[in-house]
Symmetry: C3
Subunit: 135 residues, 3 copies
């Protein structure tokens, strides 16, 4: 099953928690896999801590220090930094599902990584069941 | 189904578009997943913009600035930078397929990342159908 | 099939070879896919050279140079660097299996990336068979 979700980002660089969407999709799956895919070239998907918001701030600040917005880039749209961050982050995450729940660690959340916002973005989620709940 | 494709890279650092191969494999799939896997330790797979070639140049230049070729590495083969870039890029991409087409975003292309070329390289592509086209 | 393996890391930053575990799981699969998933937010999974140990040392040293342990981070647990490295590395690897063997390149090993050890860690491995060995 393939579904699309839309999210509205609010800043140029922002990590948006999308875990609740994935948990919803996992409910009907006894055993399976979920792919979360980002169809944008200036954004990505990562899995990281979602409890303390300072972790997200540190990730975004350090990435922007390593890959500054302005740095004699050839691409004329002013978002080469966003493209580079997208490649370093990756465009998808794969999640294992068991008994209707994604097997995330205690502190893990699934984060949409906006690197050239604010924008309206979409995420594609594919669920694959090896076994279905019949209850 | 598993297939191998061979590509010849021309430079030490180069992003080679392999999207057309993946589109070809997707044609027979109504709904499924494609894994594109790089079996090399000094290369990787990424998904990024394929329209304006300056994006690729900016990605490669910035990566080489962050991870220079020569930097007191212990590994004696002169390609530690390539190995490090491979880990940051990742060795595979997962693509969702629907109605015979990979669900790539408008600007997305699938790129083989050569970090220690020129070389003859191979890529392994696995297609998994949940539904097949019967037409 | 989903299995968990436990590993004990020994250093703060360490790349631990877990290839033999994945090879064991692959044996019963004629054609399939294996997902290796890290449920921790200060660790990751990568695929890189496992022959010459200096490659691992160079990867870890360079990552720590780019993302130092102390760098005015806001997160108070002293491991923001570990979280940032986790996002750059990625939390899972996808491996293609054919004839009971993971299709790894000659020099490729599957490495658990510890960035905030030493700790007792777990890895979740999911095998999915498209065809099973019947011998």
């Amino acid at each position: 099953m393939i579904k699309e979700i839309t999210i509205q980002t609010k800043k140029r660089n922002e990590l948006v928690d999308i875990t609740s969407h994935v948990k919803e999709f996992a409910k009907s799956i006894e055993e399976g896999t979920i792919t979360i895919y980002c169809p944008h070239t200036t954004a990505g998907i990562t899995i990281n801590e979602n409890a303390d918001p300072t972790v997200k701030e540190d990730i975004l600040r350090k990435l922007s220090e390593l890959i500054p917005k302005n740095d004699n880039y050839k691409h004329m749209e002013g978002n080469s930094d966003s493209h580079i961050k997208a490649t370093l982050t990756g465009s998808s995450a794969t999640i294992i599902v068991q008994d209707g729940k994604p097997l995330l660690g205690t502190w893990q959340g699934i984060l949409f990584c906006e690197y050239d916002g604010p924008r309206t973005r979409k995420i594609i989620i594919q669920t694959r069941k090896w076994k279905s709940h019949t209850s």
